[in-house]
Amino acid sequence: MNNSPSVQEISLDEMLVNQFDAHFELVSANDIPSVTALRKLAMQQFLLTGFPTSSDEKWRHTEIEALTDESFNYFLEPYKSERDIEDMFRCEVHNFDTEIISMLNGWLLDKKSGFTTLPNGIVYGSLRYAWKHFPEIINQHYGKIADYQTNGFVSINTAMVQDGVFIYVPDGVEAEKTIQIIKMIDRRESLFVQSRNLIVLGKNSKLSLMHCDDSINHFMSLINTVTEVYVGENAHFELYKLQNLNDKSGLINSTFIRQEANSTIKTNTLTFNCGMIRNNISVDLRGENAHADVLGLYLMDKKQHIDNQVYISHNAPHCTSNEKFKGILDDEASAVFNGYIHVARNAQKTNAYQNNNNILLKPTATINTMPFLEIYADDVKCSHGATIGQLDQEAMFYLRSRGISSSNARLLLMYAFAADIINQISIEPLRKRIDDMVKKRLRGELSVCEKCVLHCGMPEKEYHFDIDLSKL
């Protein structure tokens, strides 16, 4: 059953509110009472605020209206894809064995009926089943880390979301394989897609997660994802986000991470292509000695727009955080970076670092960077930096004087700029693959792949610049 709304002309928020009222039973079909209660509260909040607009301070430089004013379809039930699903998801990174979770148009593909439980006790599967199966975990964490009052997108997600990924790593378990979430949008119409992920890591556990957002066709879509991560004591969590959607699509990605004592996280957000992306990353360091690495790389061109909002909140003593975002902007692309380090009064001995570097390649490219610090504790070391510039002319001259063509020299310099972030990917096969993707992206060869983000269709070989490095 496709209960697509018959009226296409009404605005997105109105359409969603109507659906919520008309089909609440369907929306909340798999809920437990606490989730239903949260939906109602979140909807009330959404009715108050609606979607954010660019006149809100936090959204000033992002014309989000361009997306929220469009009309989209929103489905309350999964439906059949027009393509062979098996074929779409058969790709894998060479030498990189992952547990794959496939999502199509916001719904988890049902081939593994609900959950997979690995021998070591790790559980992963669909959130729509997790609500009822793991009520204790849900009651403890769901909606507790992501505050539905953050903005209209988190509110509407909390109110209406029906599916997403649930991962539970029990105490003391270290995941052997990376878990990979592949999200694809393939629908010959404009879609509004919501999904919600809950990831819970118990004490002394370890998990690395790859989260790929891709679109397969060229229809417009707006994806609104909320991810909640709970990192227990002494646990280690890594998150790699790959974003490669078509130029018309919008992606609102809100990630909320809560860290207990001695835990460490590393997130790396790699944006290759998308019409408009908004990444909200919020890290709550609430246990002592926790450490967070929040990294990002964005390579945008055409009229693309990226907005990275990073909020790191130091709420316990002796925590450290390291935030680094780098971007290259070509054509009429625009980028926004707003880093925010908040150090609470009791968070003494904090060490926080924040950096944002940008390269503008064309006079039409734009960057707005806002590295903020808000500090209430005195025994801290906090520093931040931001630079905007262009490729180093002296380095360029050096390369040119050794007979390297200007386009190749440019490429090499841009690659060197980006390598800083790529080299921090700790999974070697993934690092190599991302490395190749960046090289391709810089040459303008990486487009929305017919298959998927990992270019499994391409022969498995390393990618090199046409440069005789012996000359250097």
Binding site: P363, L373, I375, A377, V380, G385, T387, I388
Partner: protein, 482 residues
């Protein structure tokens, strides 16, 4: 060490309370409380202003009515009742032929401030245009300045004597539509200073104004306009003090600077309004719009400020770098203690080619205060090869204060380079230990370290101010050692 200005600093430090909290009993000529069109007409009539001036005020007032008070700054204060303010308070006598005629009490005020008019005339070579409660009392050194063609007078005089200049430049940098407080000032400003440096003249004196809020419940709305014609130079100093009063006093000033081709203007401020007592009661609300326009090619505007006073500071001295090769500079030390709140910084708007700007901001917070740097660097598409360097450091003294940094950087040109860096830290134990080991007590050691920390900015101040500024730093930080 020589920068600590001798051994008496400890005495000054330990005295602690606001030093300039005396109240001069001069008869005031005040406007009725509240703000209506009638108030504005009253002010305008009192000042015998021409019709066009009144029209400007009324236009600004009507615009102000349509505006909302800004809320984005990182400051909190009870709502201001704009109808409970006296918008005009002038010392009663207006005409002074010589210093003798000036109210002795007024002179005494200046003496306490250490700026006695006649003394300074001889010793320091500083021309002072003293403004008490918004009306210019006496301007010194008019003759010397006159010889060079420099006009330095009160704003009201300029309205009468140089209407063509006022008409041309007033509101050209900060239009009355600019923001809430600029609109309010444009409507009710009582007086201020006007300074005009003709083509090719290097002003022979450091020009200086003292502002002082005196009568109770009076808002202070002064307006300064500085015009530097081609290839001229002027260094302008502004000092502020306010007597101790429990009710918060509102201060909303405008400073406009225009620099033509190759002109250079150096504007220095030592702001020492009453910051409120140790419990956060009283103090001045300081909402100021300061902006310089580098209109001509290769012009330069430099702001240096030492902010130690005010309960609330809301102030962003800015440079609009319109001419090619023009330069903007901003050097600031902002100190907050007790319950003070400061949200201050700068804006550098790069419009012309090869424009350069430097921002050095040093924030020091102590007690339960909050100190924020907020700055904008904007590179417009035409500003090829422009360059900005910003450095914003914060020093925290004590664990109950806050230090915040909110830089906004917007670049629209691929050939420009923008760099921003900031650090937040406290005084290191090592430095303190080193000083104490050599027999310098904690309080003095902190004074020493803070002065070293702020030296980069203090060095930019003219001599007369630098000494005062260092003392102020020490006084403000008194009792912050915990």
């Amino acid at each position: 060490m020589e920068n600590i200005s001798g051994t008496n600093i400890l005495d000054e430090v330990t005295q602690g309370d606001y030093k300039f909290g005396f109240y001069t009993d001069i008869e005031n000529d005040t406007a009725p409380r509240g703000l209506t069109e009638d108030t504005i007409r009253f002010i305008s009539a009192k000042k015998e202003e021409p019709e066009w001036m009144l029209a400007f005020r009324l236009k600004a007032f009507r615009h102000w009515l349509a505006l909302k008070e800004p809320e984005w700054a990182h400051i909190h204060y009870p709502a201001i009742n704009y109808q409970n303010i006296i918008y005009y308070a002038a010392p009663k006598r207006k005409e002074f032929a010589s210093l003798d005629e000036i109210d002795p009490e007024l002179l005494e005020t200046f003496n306490k401030l250490g700026i006695s008019l006649d003394e300074q005339k001889k010793l320091t070579g500083v021309a002072v245009d003293a403004v008490i409660d918004s009306v210019s009392v006496k301007t010194t050194f008019q003759d010397t300045l006159g010889k060079h063609g420099v006009i330095f007078c009160s704003f009201s005089e300029a309205v009468h004597n140089h209407p063509e200049l006022i008409k041309k430049y007033m509101g050209s940098v900060v239009p009355y539509t600019d923001n809430y407080f600029a609109a309010l000032n444009s409507a009710v400003f009582s007086d201020g200073s006007f300074c005009f440096i003709p083509k090719g003249v290097r002003c022979p004196l450091e020009l200086s104004t003292y502002f002082r809020i005196n009568a109770a419940n009076t808002g202070q709305f002064e307006r300064t306009l500085i015009v530097a014609e081609d290839s001229s130079y002027v260094s302008y100093m502004e000092g502020c003090t306010a007597p101790m009063r429990d009710e918060n006093q509102l201060h909303a000033a405008i400073v406009e600077i225009v620099a033509m081709d190759n002109a250079e203007v150096k504007y220095s401020t030592v702001q020492n309004w009453y910051p409120g007592d140790k419990n956060g009661i009283g103090g001045v609300y300081n909402f100021v719009t300061k902006r310089g326009l580098c209109k001509g090619n290769s012009s330069k505007i430099s702001w240096t400020q030492v902010e130690t006073g005010s309960a609330i500071t809301w102030k962003y001295p800015s440079c609009v770098l319109m001419g090619d090769n023009s330069i903007g500079e901003f050097y600031s030390v902002a100190v907050t203690n007790h319950y003070q709140q400061a949200d201050t910084g700068t804006k550098m708007i790069h419009i012309g080619k090869n424009t350069r700007s430097t921002i050095i901001s040093k924030g020091i917070s102590a007690g339960k205060s909050n100190n924020s740097y907020r700055g904008l660097v904007k590179i417009l598409p035409a500003a090829s090869n422009s360059r900005n360097f910003s450095q914003c450091d914060s020093l925290l003294l004590g664990d109950k204060c806050g230090a915040h940094t909110f830089p906004y950087i917007q670049a629209r040109n691929e050939t420009s380079i923008v760099e921003h860096e900031a650090t937040t830290s406290k005084i290191s134990e090592d430095q303190l230990f080193y000083c104490k080991q050599r027999g310098i007590d904690t309080e003095k050691a902190i004074g020493l370290i803070v002065n070293g920390y702020a030296k980069e900015v203090l060095n930019k101040l003219p001599m007369e101010f630098a000494v005062e500024a260092q003392k102020l730093l020490a006084i403000t930080l008194e009792g912050s050692v915990g």
